[in-house]
Symmetry: D3
Subunit: 232 residues, 6 copies
Amino acid sequence: MKIHIINPNSTASMTEKIGEAARAVAAPGTAILATNPQGTPASIEGHADEAAAVPPLLREIIEGTEAGADAFVLACFDDPGLFACREVTDRPVVGICEAAMMAASILAVRFSVVTTLPRSIPIIEDLADRYGHTRRCRRVRSAAIPVLALEEDGDNAAALVRAEVLAAIREDGVDAVILGCAGMADLAATLSAETGIPILDGVAAATKLAEALAGCGYTTSKAGAYAYPLDK
Amino acid sequence: MKIHIINPNSTASMTEKIGEAARAVAAPGTAILATNPQGTPASIEGHADEAAAVPPLLREIIEGTEAGADAFVLACFDDPGLFACREVTDRPVVGICEAAMMAASILAVRFSVVTTLPRSIPIIEDLADRYGHTRRCRRVRSAAIPVLALEEDGDNAAALVRAEVLAAIREDGVDAVILGCAGMADLAATLSAETGIPILDGVAAATKLAEALAGCGYTTSKAGAYAYPLDK
Amino acid sequence: MKIHIINPNSTASMTEKIGEAARAVAAPGTAILATNPQGTPASIEGHADEAAAVPPLLREIIEGTEAGADAFVLACFDDPGLFACREVTDRPVVGICEAAMMAASILAVRFSVVTTLPRSIPIIEDLADRYGHTRRCRRVRSAAIPVLALEEDGDNAAALVRAEVLAAIREDGVDAVILGCAGMADLAATLSAETGIPILDGVAAATKLAEALAGCGYTTSKAGAYAYPLDK
Amino acid sequence: MKIHIINPNSTASMTEKIGEAARAVAAPGTAILATNPQGTPASIEGHADEAAAVPPLLREIIEGTEAGADAFVLACFDDPGLFACREVTDRPVVGICEAAMMAASILAVRFSVVTTLPRSIPIIEDLADRYGHTRRCRRVRSAAIPVLALEEDGDNAAALVRAEVLAAIREDGVDAVILGCAGMADLAATLSAETGIPILDGVAAATKLAEALAGCGYTTSKAGAYAYPLDK
Amino acid sequence: MKIHIINPNSTASMTEKIGEAARAVAAPGTAILATNPQGTPASIEGHADEAAAVPPLLREIIEGTEAGADAFVLACFDDPGLFACREVTDRPVVGICEAAMMAASILAVRFSVVTTLPRSIPIIEDLADRYGHTRRCRRVRSAAIPVLALEEDGDNAAALVRAEVLAAIREDGVDAVILGCAGMADLAATLSAETGIPILDGVAAATKLAEALAGCGYTTSKAGAYAYPLDK
Amino acid sequence: MKIHIINPNSTASMTEKIGEAARAVAAPGTAILATNPQGTPASIEGHADEAAAVPPLLREIIEGTEAGADAFVLACFDDPGLFACREVTDRPVVGICEAAMMAASILAVRFSVVTTLPRSIPIIEDLADRYGHTRRCRRVRSAAIPVLALEEDGDNAAALVRAEVLAAIREDGVDAVILGCAGMADLAATLSAETGIPILDGVAAATKLAEALAGCGYTTSKAGAYAYPLDK
């Protein structure tokens, strides 16, 4: 089975980290392909960055489908263009925010999210509502760091994320915390070990969920709003 | 005052029709500029079409801001990229779905929407939820016509839209109907006259709402998720 | 065009202030008529005050319609009797809470409201729910002042409102604040200038929205629950 | 114990019928006082009728409190002015729509409502939402009869109500039906017997609920929005 | 009339306390039977405890029906097995969480709940949602005491409950507080007297509500999901 | 990896069918253990049947954990006792309704459910709400067959299920249909092939989801409401 993971921003070091996080959980027979499009923003921080990333992302999905991917993971926590991705392929496409919230809703009764910048808070709140987790998602928090700080100033960024995760556990009445950025994928294991509760990274969750859906032989429905785009 | 109306698809005849609908309601001192970007899909029917249209749309907003627009109208009923538009300008940006639903919620207690293709039904249902009209919006219906049929085969398309509007009045228990496509802007007056109830076109509603917001001196807040995109 | 703004309480100084706020934003061709009924409470602080104000308010609407008003603004932030007003006229009727929340939902992603007395908090929360802003409205706050303090002890009241607006910005994660009383209409401009974010007054928002709806030629639907009251 | 039931319209024959329905279920030691204010509409069909009825209704509540009522029932299915009633007394006040929906939510999993005129449908839908029964209330139906037809043309009206109740059972997937008008109180027993499922009349439900609350020694909280109106 | 109150745990001292709370409010002609099943957990603290208690509880309901109970009260604040209870009898069955929230929603505009252990918080939040009180229920708090501490270490437990009730009044903006455990039934009167606002105990509320429903002659509908279990 | 699938009813032929459905999708290295407790109802049709099944189910979970299961699937579409299961083990526990709705929400925009008896309709509607699929789940339908008819009269039952699936596609505007009973697991492939849209069986979906969660190394959080039951 081949799972194609697309980091919609153009920062290769983040793509590499995402690929590693996926490979760490992939089943023996699963090949992980982690790519990023060219020409998209170096990080996705807000709606305009999302908008710039989606057209190249869709081309990546189309080419990936032709190249035989069995399922796709969209590796940006805003799940940008997720529904559009589902139009251009019949393979399952899983967003990392979507997958992390699904996993959290099975493993825990209440969760918080720790993301990068404050401007992403309402975006993720809206996703929680859209995916049906309004009650389960207690709070979306920000560690007040730009996405790329996770690459460039990793130790400091990790410390800030950790502090915010601990604050969530202390103040929010949650029994799980989701790391709300693909660039935090490497922090989940350590924080889970330290806190003793599930600290979820969406890349791992989405990779396994994509594997699961493809393993069921499921395909994206073409009978509704995910039908292929019409020729113009 | 200058209201810049952007039809995000690239069909000039539709842009022209939209401009006329706006001018028909604009105040004496308001200049209407109706444009469409180049290189976007000829019609927007689904999420992938939306995604393709948004980056050129954002450039149009940025240039329009530099050219002195006081407010913008996004003239596609899916309100594609609406939140991204608000990031790249500090002028108010109004979507036509958003505006039509606001107007309907003041003029009537319950409304239905008649759109073009069935694939747009869940998109508009999701917008109704997001804008807070879950209860007020009784039903989203489709006239089962492609968007461009409104241009190319106008009489037949108009007949199909009219039939669906009458069905909504007969079956849905509504006291207003929204026409769910910018390309239907010219049908609202006739249908209102025939049915005796508000049949709302989003272009008119959004134009006046944009005029109203600019007239209050309001600007888009830059203190939250609509802050300008960060430099990369 | 003639916009008739009705302050449902009987405090003439507040009516005057409301009229000024409306005139400050009205289009050149718009005449603003600001009135208040006789015999209603001097201020509206709770459901019983609302109930006492509505019958005279409805008579004001009926007479205003006969006198040729093109649209009405209901200038009390509880929007008392708003749906009843819509029954007795076919002109658009806009509530100031309704209008302020609509404007805020376009200009910002999250907002708080600062009102007068704590007893109004759940009333305004219920309105936010009814109008569909449950998620967007982060918090309704009270400055703990009676409505008439805004008239009688203006400087002190303004200071308390300002303090609560600043608290909202600091604590609520909002990018706009709504002033939740018609008597605060004169504070919006100063507070917007000071804070750099939209501080919205419902009188201005509703006046322009009423102008917009009348300018579209829209009328209140008489085909549903806003039909004229039946003769008894 | 004394339960004071107020029919807010001024039709004495309906008040009498309501009083009988209440007495039929009252406990041995409970005195039922059924009154109606003077000068209110002969029937309450819409928001403007509600508005006209509420101020006299509030005076009735105030006088009833002074006269020693232990609890009040508001006997109009729109529950007009319910929250205002709670401000002017510290005795429990129960609305008949509120009580019928509470009872139905205990006795059945899903219910429909059959009311008089279509214009009341959205009013009752909004009450169902406000009271928290959005999912449980499958549908609000209208028998398409004016309220007073229940008095003046009782047999025909009863036949129309019965037909709509049977339609609800056949089509809505409900296991209970609520009669959505105080004037239908006399129909509940027969229809329950005929259909074998709970057909609920709000007058009976509210009378017993008021008795229950007063029997617990409960009073309306004066610490929040139901505090007494402020002196002006 | 005979009201059968079932404490689903097996702690007889709690059953006795519950019986007393019910008798304190029962009407003169009402006989209160308070029982608990054998072999259930000594206290119900979480879903697994609930699951263990329900089958014996259902047998108690069946036997109680045969013994002529007119209505049942389920006296555990988690309302465990409430819907199952309604399947095995045609007498009304009222849960104490359900009843307390209904009463609070009539007497006050906003309420908080004070329960025993933190693990019950999301259970009660989910009940508030299910019963339709999402907005009215401001917060579910825990006094951080095991259920049996209310029996074994009553004074200390009462002090902790009192402290949390006072915190709710101070911090949550509520005008009523619900005691979220049947074992707190004896604390309601004192706390109401001290605070001057309704402090509600579900046992009293449910007893009177059960009396009210039975007094109306209502029975549980057997036409839907509360039909008798099928023979296997 | 070992996935333990528990059919909570006591019908061995159904357990066998469920085991086959799971094995058909399990990864090469995954061992599937399908069991059912003794002494539970032969089929689960309603809340009382659920209640009877849960205590033996919990013992099965506890023993399965001791025997080294890596994750559990609860193979009854009502997901009975799901939260209690999560208390008694630290391995992930996935319900088949939960999993099917998650999968459908990724593969399609709108889905309907076809279950066995009408009495299960509100149960499944409530699950859809609880899991956050209120908008996505268009309708829950019943094929009007008892659960065991799927075993005893398979061909006829399959025809009735097929007819209802086709009705859902024709009438509900959905692009996926979920089979709402573990006993329908063998029908999914044929119906998917016939209709060309995803017809989802919860057993397959839950098996792969359980595999995915265990494959991530996730465990059920013991820091909140899923903590182990307290000793009594």
